[in-house]
């Protein structure tokens, strides 16, 4: 049996008195594109943080490629594409600077880029088709280009697992398609992609599977099954049903 890329077992997390994750269990195989669906406050970001080892679990466990998150961090397995609103877009860095940050875990303590690093950054930029914009300040990119810049950082990092937090928020339809194609091609190379989203219409084309989260994992399966109105009603309440009809 192969080891799953991400295996979360009975993960429980509290913030003070608030229960954020309630014994969530799920596993994702390598090379899958998986959509993580849930309302605000359903625990999507908490689950991401747990996978990255940013928070301590009260109970349960997370394994990345069979190893604890601390191990995975050292080898730079997990790449992270933050939500747009979590980034200071006025920060005086070029696109290339940001992608180079993917290499820091592999560099000496002053993070002086070697020729290998430069090459990895070139390739990553080429891969997401941002080579021409490499010298731009990151904030001068469009919404979709910004996402691709951070995906490039993950590629330069050599991440085999990529976590994307709401990648389609504030992104126009065409860029959305570009990003989807990019993510599909990354998964074809064997990378595992986990996308948190409440944007349901992109899921069936993009994802191999979907997970419904409501503090616990309600359902995991192929998107067409998970996205059935009755199932969505479990995670979002009945108004989603009514709006769709």
């Amino acid at each position: 049996m192969t080891v799953p890329a991400i295996a979360v077992k009975a993960a429980t997390v509290h913030y003070g008195d608030v229960l954020a994750l309630d014994s969530a269990t799920m596993s994702i195989d390598a090379g899958q594109v998986c959509g993580l669906i849930g309302m605000n406050g359903s625990g999507k970001s908490t689950l991401f943080k747990a996978i990255m080892g940013l928070i301590q679990l009260d109970r349960g466990s997370v394994l990345i490629d069979g190893d604890p998150p601390a191990q995975a961090r050292k080898s730079g397995v997990v790449g992270y594409v933050p939500q747009g609103e979590d980034v200071d877009w006025d920060f005086p860095l070029s696109v290339r600077d940001v992608v180079m940050m993917g290499r820091y875990g592999r560099q000496g303590w002053t993070r002086r880029p070697s020729r290998v690093d430069q090459q990895a950054v070139d390739e990553a930029l080429d891969r997401v088709e941002l080579t021409d914009l490499a010298a731009r300040q990151v904030g001068a990119l469009s919404g979709g280009q910004r996402k691709r810049a951070f995906v490039a950082r993950g590629i330069a990092q050599g991440a085999t697992i990529m976590l994307l937090d709401e990648p389609f928020a504030g992104v126009d339809k065409r860029s959305e398609a570009t990003i989807s194609t990019l993510l599909r091609s990354l998964s074809a190379e064997g990378r595992t992609i986990l996308i948190s989203t409440h944007d349901l219409h992109t899921l069936p084309d993009l994802c191999d599977e979907a997970i419904l989260l409501m503090k616990k994992v309600l359902l995991q399966g192929i998107p067409s099954e998970v996205l059935k109105p009755d199932n969505l009603a479990l995670a979002f309440g009945l108004d989603v049903l009514n709006r769709d009809r």
Binding site: M52, R73, G76, P82, D88, P92, G105
Partner: protein, 293 residues
Amino acid sequence: MNPIEFLLEPLSYDFMTRALTVTVVASIVCALLSCWLVLIGWSLMGDAVSHAVLPGVVLAYVVGAPFALGALIFGVLAVALIGTLRDTSRIKEDAAIGVVFTTLFALGIVLISVTPSQTDLSHILFGNLLGVSTPDLLQVVMLGTVAFAILLLKRRDLTLYAFDPTHAHAIGLSPRVLGALLLGLLALTSVIALQAVGVVLVVALLIIPGATAYLLTDRFPRMLLIAPILSATCAVVGIYTSYYLDAASGGMVVLTQGLLFGIVYLVSPRHGIIATRVSTFRRRQLVTQRADS
């Protein structure tokens, strides 16, 4: 007086050369650090730490320990107290900072008032550039070199920490350690700068140069060049002005920094207020022209 005499006359006094050296060193190191403080949004934290070191410096004087050690201890204490207050009560961070640093600063003032000493300890408050001794100068140059070297060598990690601590964590670096490093350097530079401008005005050297440079460039490496150069220039201009006007030297240095910031705010080619107004005006005109035709 010809210009050369104008420049050389102050330097004929030893106390002036020492004052100039201390101010330039402090300005450069503080300016470098200010680039990160301004981007992270830690200006208030810089204000807090630079004030909170006061009791540490006074106590260090009393027991005869190095000023830097006392400052470091109280700088760290201030940060720890602020964090604890924020995390364990309903007080928000800005209020926590306000409570902690003013209380520690007040403690420092009280300690100064009850400490018998030959040197006037109130110089710590407002700086005493003209009374910088040779050992003081050596200490500032040594600490300044250490802080400068650490900042330069770790600049990429610090920038990553400022930009995206989550990513730092994801690739196995410790945001906590990097944050602590930055705060430690903040306490260290506060000691360096208080010789020059005094505790009250240290925060100016820790914020203004970075803010000015940020209005001038979209490239962080360039900020790290622009901020120290401008800051050192302001230091020299400020010291000379204070010499010829017979005005407070620390105040003059900071005043020069502030004036330069004001000018840059107005005329910076891309982020200055005039440039942005003009481009908004042009855009509107274009739109109206199109609507008319």
